[in-house]
Symmetry: D2
Subunit: 357 residues, 4 copies
Amino acid sequence: MKQLTVGVVGAGYWGPNLIRNFYENEQVELKYVCDLLPDKLAGIARRYPTVKTTTNYQDMLDDPALDAIVIATPVRTHFRLAQQALSANKHVLVEKPMCMSSGECQVLVDLADARRRILMVDHTFAYHGAIRRIKEVIDAGELGEILYFDSVRINLGLFQSDANVIWDLAPHDLSIMDHLLRQTPKVVHATGACHAGNGFEDIAYITLTFADNLIAHFNVSWLSPVKVRQMLIGGTKKMIAYDELTPMEKIRIYDKGISVTEPQSVQSSYVNLISYRIGDMHAPVFDLTEALKTEVAHFVDCALHGKQPMTDGRSGLRIVRILEAANASLKSGQPQEINLEQPAPTVVPQDFGIKVG
Amino acid sequence: MKQLTVGVVGAGYWGPNLIRNFYENEQVELKYVCDLLPDKLAGIARRYPTVKTTTNYQDMLDDPALDAIVIATPVRTHFRLAQQALSANKHVLVEKPMCMSSGECQVLVDLADARRRILMVDHTFAYHGAIRRIKEVIDAGELGEILYFDSVRINLGLFQSDANVIWDLAPHDLSIMDHLLRQTPKVVHATGACHAGNGFEDIAYITLTFADNLIAHFNVSWLSPVKVRQMLIGGTKKMIAYDELTPMEKIRIYDKGISVTEPQSVQSSYVNLISYRIGDMHAPVFDLTEALKTEVAHFVDCALHGKQPMTDGRSGLRIVRILEAANASLKSGQPQEINLEQPAPTVVPQDFGIKVG
Amino acid sequence: MKQLTVGVVGAGYWGPNLIRNFYENEQVELKYVCDLLPDKLAGIARRYPTVKTTTNYQDMLDDPALDAIVIATPVRTHFRLAQQALSANKHVLVEKPMCMSSGECQVLVDLADARRRILMVDHTFAYHGAIRRIKEVIDAGELGEILYFDSVRINLGLFQSDANVIWDLAPHDLSIMDHLLRQTPKVVHATGACHAGNGFEDIAYITLTFADNLIAHFNVSWLSPVKVRQMLIGGTKKMIAYDELTPMEKIRIYDKGISVTEPQSVQSSYVNLISYRIGDMHAPVFDLTEALKTEVAHFVDCALHGKQPMTDGRSGLRIVRILEAANASLKSGQPQEINLEQPAPTVVPQDFGIKVG
Amino acid sequence: MKQLTVGVVGAGYWGPNLIRNFYENEQVELKYVCDLLPDKLAGIARRYPTVKTTTNYQDMLDDPALDAIVIATPVRTHFRLAQQALSANKHVLVEKPMCMSSGECQVLVDLADARRRILMVDHTFAYHGAIRRIKEVIDAGELGEILYFDSVRINLGLFQSDANVIWDLAPHDLSIMDHLLRQTPKVVHATGACHAGNGFEDIAYITLTFADNLIAHFNVSWLSPVKVRQMLIGGTKKMIAYDELTPMEKIRIYDKGISVTEPQSVQSSYVNLISYRIGDMHAPVFDLTEALKTEVAHFVDCALHGKQPMTDGRSGLRIVRILEAANASLKSGQPQEINLEQPAPTVVPQDFGIKVG
């Protein structure tokens, strides 16, 4: 029954969730967990006595029986660890954001292609029942032409010491948008502020504009007294409001839309050029399976059968390019053009001085 | 008892609210209502039989017994009507936004100064019980240093045919911010989209940056399936969430804040440079008097006793300068610098071809 | 165009709403407003200069041109005023609750039948767009067999000095239930408490049981810190949650229900004998017309064309009989049987010593 | 460090939570888990390899090193298992409701006294941070005199096959009330309905009345389309609204109250005999520790140091007596008097034919 042998590197904040889900997948043998901190490994060993723990990443690379490596370490180490894993002919599932730069991402994408290995990015929300349900609605054309995508992900903390709020929170929302809309932005504007004196923004706003009149906006913050995770997607026919934190009716589909009409009168200044339609609201139920469980099953299926993952390296690359452009816009105060249809320039990544294993 | 004689021009969408509140103010004799549409005037005459109705604005200008003129007409007519009223030595209360351009606003400000007349702008929210309560909290220093101001005002419709959503909705939120924070932005970024083919944006996002790390952001839209009117104001000591539409606890003051600390560890990547504090929430009650009633009383008091209005012509000018810069940013795709401490260049306004009275 | 001549008696708390709606109905000539308090009449006269005001109810009874009388006075005066009006061949619309006793109600019902006059009770909610929409859903059989009706109407104040909270608030909910379900309860249980030392309960709970397993429950209170107006109606196929005070989605129709199944196992104690189904939620839009406007139009239509009102005297009688039984249960501490299919005993009402006009 | 040796019987629905919390308590050696189903035991053995699993309850009774037994089996087995445990000189923590009858409860209370063993009932909510916070507020007198307690616990499912909704859900709310108010009801009214044809009510309403004007009401249902867990506690000075399911501000303390005043006027029927005060709302933070963790630590502390538990056998007995009276009221249709200050009659419990171990 166990068909895919897997090792996980990184048992910190998110790693344990990956470890648990790989451990519980019936097609997986979770063989290794690697971390630099012996304390973390001791906890894992108690909880999963059949799993080997190691502080030496090379152990995993060297094991020919290991099929896949899951990388849940700090972002700055993703590139090196993934590069080594792919070079050792392992399939790779890597935490988001995929890498520190689009050049690194491109190198990994090319390497995975060359080695014919699966390279998948942990854009968890794409596997969430609610997002999958919303995708069905959009793909069925129910919304009509998409007019806008508006996302808010704010909370108090957790402040990161090595990245700004864009790198920390926006990958979630950018990957949801990328997954749902499958359209590529042309220009990125970002604004933000840092209040900690460390150069890392704790509040930021990103606007993406597209070839047509589609607009996407992202509000991310570590400084909000209230926790909000909401999304609005407006179409010409219907509109969706998604609230991740409400106990009920997280997805609300409004039978509301607009249509352009001729002016009714030339005299009044309150002439409507646009009419809007207000109808019922429909809140569909959706699959409540843990997103990570679905994602792990998808990774296993892709690795075993050579399928293309839904959130592959190219999607990870697209998100990192938008993040890069957003950060460039933040620093320069100017909008940044991007062209996601061209490959990113592959750069030889600098050595971050990180000792892994 | 009746001490101030008032005329109102414009009985369209908002005018009737002003008319009702001036009518009901015990110190006011509402003498005239002027509108170009006889239908509107007929309704007013039925409702307020003691008020004179006229389609001729000059009637009001020519009446030496008339002390003040209230202007509730389309924005493009504000300048001309206010200029005539001030020139005829009338006090003026003018709808928001004050004028089509900062140059016009500056001309009116200078004219009001020269004539020693009250020039007040109908920034209604400054007189709303909830906003007054929030201002007390801020002015008492309860929030500490203000870190950000974040505002959302979105709904489905009403689309305007002669202005974009920024001119329509943002004056509310900009004037609330201006009133509460009393700080002047240095740079304005705006992004947006138009889906009606008429060149007027129906969705827009504005970011204001200030001399220090204060950041303000405004989300305005006519295209949201849900109606939202919310504001977050974050300080180092406390933070406020204001929700205009919730039935209870519209103002919530969170005893939450942040403080910068030294890194705890050099090894972990999840070191907090910032610690945050989570305490109780307090929802104060506030005066439920209709904002416009309070505002009208304030205008009457200023006119009768020569006081400076809380929302004077200079505040109207500040808002219009930000609106202008936001629109310039929208059109150019580039951030715009502004200097609100310098007077605006007074321009001879073009003739909009508007026949008034 | 004016086809029905109407007089209103009572210009206190609710009367002005009736006056406004009758005044604005195009088929109505509102000829009189009667009240004992000259102050109230002065306000009416200013607002509606064409309406005659009087402190003498006999003026209305004696005017042969008056077709209908609307009674918005304290409950203890309803019977006398309505009896006089019907005896003078006027149609009658009377505030809820209809009378102080079922005997009085029965006398009025019989009198209206004998005089062939319309006798309608102001059960306003039956005319509210949301309730009308819910009634359509129920009448179409969408809920299946109705299992329960659960209502909450609680708030802080307004305390009445001459009635308990059941007489004050429960008529709303009982009339909604009566209107929606069209089933007659067999037994009434009520419990409650009085905290003011005046013998009038400020909190009460009423349970109605029916011939089958239908159960209805009503929670009414003047002592709640939060204002709640909610209703749950459960059926075998679907269930409705109605929240009058939420800004959006007041009506929510859940595709949820139950079905009885055979036990799955004899060993486990967590066997389900009942299975339940969880499906989508649907929130329909509904007519936003003011309920009282719709009700007034209905009354006028009934009076002009001899139609039976939706909330006729018999419905008013049914509600008063339930109120009587609930109060008897409160006082005795015992459940009370009722038989709404039998006429109520007509009693000669005592003289309440009320001078009207 | 391990000072108390514990065995748990019952690894079904709730047992695993108790097992986990006892396992993780540093003062506890979790030595046994007993269940009749080998499948359940196999799962426990995998998860907790150091724990002995057995299908024979006698193993635990016979082990002189075992200090305490935790009973998480179906209610009908509680008495027998607890009686055996106490007779074997074990401390006992038993699931709620404590037993099937007050007579059984009284026997256990007396037995625990005689053997000087701890007998504690798992009224979990008494240990929940929110309830502890509310208790502090009440004990400090902040609410003034308590006027009412109103509780709602409704949901769709889980239907039980061997008990009605009162036995299933009301123990939670009755034990919260008992813990917070420390007052004993005098009369119990209950109404309800059964829709499954099995004689077990799925909807029920309980009213408790007390010596003074305090009233308590409980709404429990398995048939609601929406999940609600709310509580209102009204006092003369302040009132509390508790919402277990809202993401934020679960405890809201309203500075609202009432005071009785003399009538203002003899003429008006809208005279207030009661005035009410509306002030701010305060939402305190509270300890987020898992309630069961706190409870387990309390049980361990009581067992080790001979302290009286907060939710001792007498509190379990009180709750069962109210449940019995509520069920008697349901069956008879009549209110039931109770006297919680007298001991319950100890009955020789019938043999339920349950084979344990």
